[in-house]
Symmetry: D2
Subunit: 314 residues, 4 copies
C-alpha cells in the first residue's frame, strides 16, 4: 500500500485527507441512479458529493456539499435502534434478530419462513418493529428520533421533509404489507396506519453530512452522547456497531465490509454514516445509487478513506 | 465495564488473562452437543477446553487443552481461501460471492435462486468452489492446505485423520448434491468425486489450538507469513478478515459479531479461530456445539476475551 | 370394486345414495377442528354434517343438515371468478395465473418471486385480485356475488353474516398484507381498505348445502344458469372446472384429485362444492377441518360418492 | 361451440378427426424449440408431427408421423409409477407426495423445505424415488419398464437409445444432485450411480405414437392390461390419472388442465400421452417445446381434440 498515510497524519486535521478523497472519487460523480420510487428523491441533482468527519474532541471537518441537507432515509434506523435500546433495553431482541438477511431490504420471504420475526433492525421489517417499540416506549417515535438528532448535532434546524414523507406514504404499499404481515404474527403493537406514519416521517428527516457525523459520534465514543451523558453502555454501543457491520448496507453488507471494513449504515437518499470505533465518525453523501441501493461515490469515498488511513477495523 | 483490564496489561503476557477466561467459562464445559453427523466426531469427550493466543512477535500462550489436536473441519476453509487468493488472485470472486447467506451452511435453496454461485466461501457450497479452484491451481488442494498449516505452525506432525475423512465421505450425500448442483451450472471444473475427496481430506485435518493460533497469524499480520514472506497483500488480508466477520460462523455471523466483535471462523469440531488485526490471533476449542454449530464454550471464551480486553474491533 | 352401484341406480333418485354415504362417514363426525382464526367460526358445533346433490333437471336431494346455513368462506371464490369472467372476460388472466401454488393459501413467498401475480384465483392473493376486478367491473363486488347466489339457488334469504365479516376484518392483517403487497406491484386497482371490506363480506356469506348445490349447477351445465341464460361459454365453464381441479382445495389439490377425482372448491367453514360435469353438482358440509383446511367428513363423503358411483372424472 | 362433432361421430373411426386436427395445427409445426440440454434430442427435425388414438377395443388410428419412434423421456415416468404401484403398493406414497410442485421440474428448493420428500412422482426428484423403488422391487428397473412397454404395445422392437442415455449421463449433474440430496435425507435406497443409470436408460426409451397410445391403454381401461389381466385396481388407475392431471406437465399442469382438460404426461422429446378414462388413450408427438417443456403442437392438438369432441373430463 504505497499510498497509505502515516498514522499520525490522520490524528489532527482531516481536511487534507478529505480533499484528496474528494479528488480521487470525482470521476464517479454522477454514476449510479438516485432512488426512483420516491419522486421527491428522484429529482435531486446526482452530481452532488459531501463528506464530513467528526472526531472525539468535537471537531468536524468537511469537503464538498458537506453542509447541504439531504434525505437521511434508512440512516435514521441506527438512531431509532439506539434510542429503543436506550429506553427499552434488551427485550427488543426478542422481536427482531441480529443476523444478515441475505435478501433485499423489503423482502417478505424470510419473514414468512421465520414467522414474522425480522432478521435484523436495518431491513425495513426490522426497522418497523424498532419504530413500533419506540412508539410504545415514548408515544411519539418520529419526534423522539428528530429531537435526538437535533441535540447531538447541535443543529435545531434539522427537520422532517413533509413532501418526502407524503411521497413515501403514497408509495408505501410494500411497507404496509410488511407491517400488516408482522401484525398477523402478533409482532406489531401499535395500529399499523399510525406506525407507518411515524416510520415515514422518521425516514423523511433532512440533515447534512456535518449533522450526521456529529450525531453519530456516540457510536465512536462507546455510547457517550455529546453532552457527556451515557446513551448506551459500552457493550450496547459495540453491539450496534456490530449490527451495522453485518447488516447496515442492505444486501451488500459483505461487500461493504470487504471494501470498506467499517461499521456503516446507508440510506437511499445517498447518505452513509460509518464509524471508526474510538476514533471518529464519518458521513458521506452522493445521490447516485448502485443496484443494491448504496451510494456509488459514497462507498468509494469510504473505501478510499480506509485505504489511505489504514483505519479499517480489519 | 468495571472488569476491563488496562490496555498495557494485555500487551506482554496473555497467560493470566487466559487463565481468568478459562475459570470464567468453566461452568459451560459440557454444554452443547458434539457434532453428531460424523461418528468419529460424536465420540469426543465434550468436557475438553483449550485456548491459545499467538502474538505478532511469535509468542504463543495457552490454557487447558491447548496442545490437544482436534478436528479442524470448516476452519480449514479460511486457509484454503487464503491460498486460492494467493495463488490465483481475484478471479475467484467471479465464482463465489462475499455476502452472508441467511441460510444454514449446507442449504441448496439460495444456490438455486442465484444460479449456482454460492453466497460466500465459508458455506459448504462456496468452500467446494474454493477447493475446486485450489485443485486446479495446484493439482493437490488438500495437501496444499496441510503443508501450509505445517509450515505456519512449525509443527510437521499436523496430519489428516483418515477415519474422519472416511466418515465424512460416508455421510457426504449433501456435499455431493451441492457439488453436482454447481457443476450443473458450470461452476465446478474438476470431476466431482475427486473434488469431494480433497474437500473431505481437508476437513479432516487435526491440529491443536497452539497450531491454529500460529497458523492464523498471517491474518493479524496483514498478510505476512511466519517466515516474513508475503502471502496476501494488505488489502487481501483485510478482505479475508471482513469475510470472516460477515460469514465465518455459519448462520450466526451477526450474533458472533454482536457478542465477540472479531473476525472468526468456526468448525463443527468445536474449534474457532479469531483475529485481532495488528495484534494477535486466538484459537479456542471445546466440542459442545450450539444449535447453529458453534462451540458454546468457545464463543463464550472469545466473548470474555473482548469484554476483558476491550479488543473487539467495534 | 364390489360396492359400486350400477350406473342406472344413480340417474334418478340420489336420496338412498346420500343416506348410505352419511352412514358410511358417520364415524368421522367430530374429527378435525373447526377453523380457529375466526372466533365466529370456531364456536360452531363440529358434529354437524349435510350433503346435497342438484341434478341438471333442477331436482335437489339432501341428507343430514343439508338445509342448515353455514359460512361459505372460500367457496364464494368460485362464484366471484365466474362473475369476473362473465363480465370482464379473459383479460383477468393477465393479472392472475392458473397454476397450483405448491404453497399454503395465504403465503406471500411465491407472490414475491413472481412479482405480485398470484398463482391462481383460489389462493387468497388471487381471490383478492378477482374481487378487485369484479369491484371495478360492477362497483359492488360483494353484493354482486350475493345476488347471483340468491338467484341461482332461488333462495332470497341467503345473506352476509355481519359478525363473521367483522371477525375476519379484525383478524385480517394477513389479507391486508397480501393486498398491499400486490398493490406495490400495481396489481390492485381499488383502494386496499375498500377491497378488503368487499372481500370479507363476500367470505361471510351464509348458505346451506341445498343452496350451494343449486348455485353451482351452472358448472355442471357447461355454463348455463338456472333460468337457461348463459353465464359462461362452454369453454369458460370447462376452464373454471379445470382450475377447481388443480387449485380448488388449498395445498391439497393433488390429494383431492387423487381421492375424489372431481373439480371441487372448499372453504374453512367446512363446506365443499364439487362438480360432475354434465351430470350434477354436489355440496357437502361438516365443520371439522384437516391440517390443510379441508373438511374431514366432507372430503370423505365425496370420496365415498365417487367410489360408489364411479362418477369420478378419472 | 359450432364446430363440435356429434358424440356418435367419435365412437367408431377416429381417422377423419385426426386428419382434421393435423390440418388445424399445421401452422404450428416448427414452433417452439427442441430440448437443447441433450445434444441427441436437439438434432431432431422440429417439423415432425404424429398423433394416434387407441380405443378400448384395441383399434389404433393415426395421422402424420405416428409410427416414427421418438425419445419418450419423462413420459416413461407414468409407466414406472404404475409398475411401482402394481408391484409394491401404496407404501410408495410415504416417500413421494401427490401434490403439484409449483416449481420447475428439476428444482431443489421445495425438496429442501420438505425434507427430501419430493412433491410428486413426475418431477425429476419424485421420478428418481419411483425408479429407486422399482429397482429395489425388481432388481432391474429400466428393463422392467421397457418390457412392459413392449408387451402393452405388442411391439418387441421398442428399445433404449444408447446415445441418448449416454448424453443424459454426460449432462446429468442436476439429477445427480437431486439423488444425492434425497439420499442425504435417507430417501434413496440404492447406490446413487446405479440409480441414475437406470433412470437415464429409462428416459432414453424410443417409441412411436402408435406404441405409446397402445401402451397407455390400461389407464383408459381402469387398470386392465392388453391381455385382460389387471395391472392396477380401479382405484389405483383413477389415482394415476389424477396425478397426471395435477402434476403431469411440469409447471404447466394448471394450464394443461385449463386448455385440454385431460390427464396427460409430457416429455422433453416432444411426446405427450393423454387419457379419456373409459374411452381411449391419445399419443401425440412434435419436437418443438414451449418455455415450460411441453410440445407446442402436441398441446394444441390435444386442445383441438377436446374442443372438437367435447371429451374433456370437465
Amino acid at each position: 500500500m504505497p499510498d497509505a498515510l502515516p498514522p499520525d497524519a490522520v490524528s489532527t486535521d482531516y481536511k487534507p485527507l478529505l480533499e484528496r478523497i474528494a479528488a480521487d472519487i470525482a470521476p464517479l460523480l454522477g454514476s449510479g441512479t438516485p432512488a426512483e420510487y420516491i419522486p421527491a428523491l428522484a429529482a435531486v441533482d446526482p452530481g452532488q458529493f459531501g463528506m464530513a468527519i467528526a472526531d472525539l474532541d468535537g471537531n468536524v471537518f468537511g469537503v464538498g456539499d458537506w453542509q447541504v441537507p439531504f434525505s437521511a432515509q434508512s440512516i435514521t434506523k441506527v438512531f431509532a435502534l439506539a434510542l429503543a435500546l436506550a429506553e427499552g433495553g434488551d427485550s427488543l431482541w426478542e422481536r427482531v434478530g441480529r443476523e444478515p438477511s441475505g435478501n433485499p431490504f423489503n423482502s417478505l420471504v424470510q419473514l414468512e419462513y421465520e414467522n414474522g420475526i425480522p432478521r435484523n433492525p436495518f431491513i425495513n421489517a426490522g426497522a418497523l418493529v424498532v419504530t413500533d417499540r419506540l412508539q410504545t416506549l415514548t408515544g411519539d417515535a418520529s419526534s423522539e428520533v428528530l429531537e435526538f438528532l437535533r441535540q447531538e448535532s447541535q443543529n435545531p434546524d434539522i427537520g422532517f421533509d413533509a413532501e418526502v414523507a407524503a411521497s413515501e406514504q403514497g408509495h408505501g404499499d410494500r411497507n404496509a404489507a410488511l407491517a400488516h404481515f408482522m401484525a398477523s404474527y402478533g409482532n406489531i403493537d401499535n395500529p399499523v396506519p399510525a406506525l407507518l406514519e411515524h416510520y415515514f416521517w422518521q425516514c423523511s428527516i433532512e440533515m447534512s453530512c456535518a449533522d450526521l457525523a456529529r450525531a453519530g459520534r456516540f457510536l465512536a465514543r462507546h455510547g457517550l452522547r455529546a453532552d457527556g451523558s451515557r446513551l448506551l453502555t459500552r457493550s450496547e454501543a459495540k453491539q450496534v456497531n456490530a449490527v451495522m457491520m453485518t447488516c447496515g448496507t442492505y444486501d451488500a453488507a459483505g461487500e461493504f465490509a470487504y471494501r470498506v471494513g467499517l461499521p456503516g449504515k446507508s440510506g437511499v437518499g445517498g447518505g452513509i454514516v460509518a464509524v471508526v470505533p474510538g476514533r471518529c465518525t464519518l458521513a458521506v453523501w452522493s445521490p447516485g445509487l448502485d443496484a443494491r441501493g448504496n451510494s456509488v461515490a459514497g462507498v468509494a469515498a469510504l473505501d478510499r478513506f480506509t485505504t489511505l488511513t489504514g483505519l479499517s477495523v480489519f
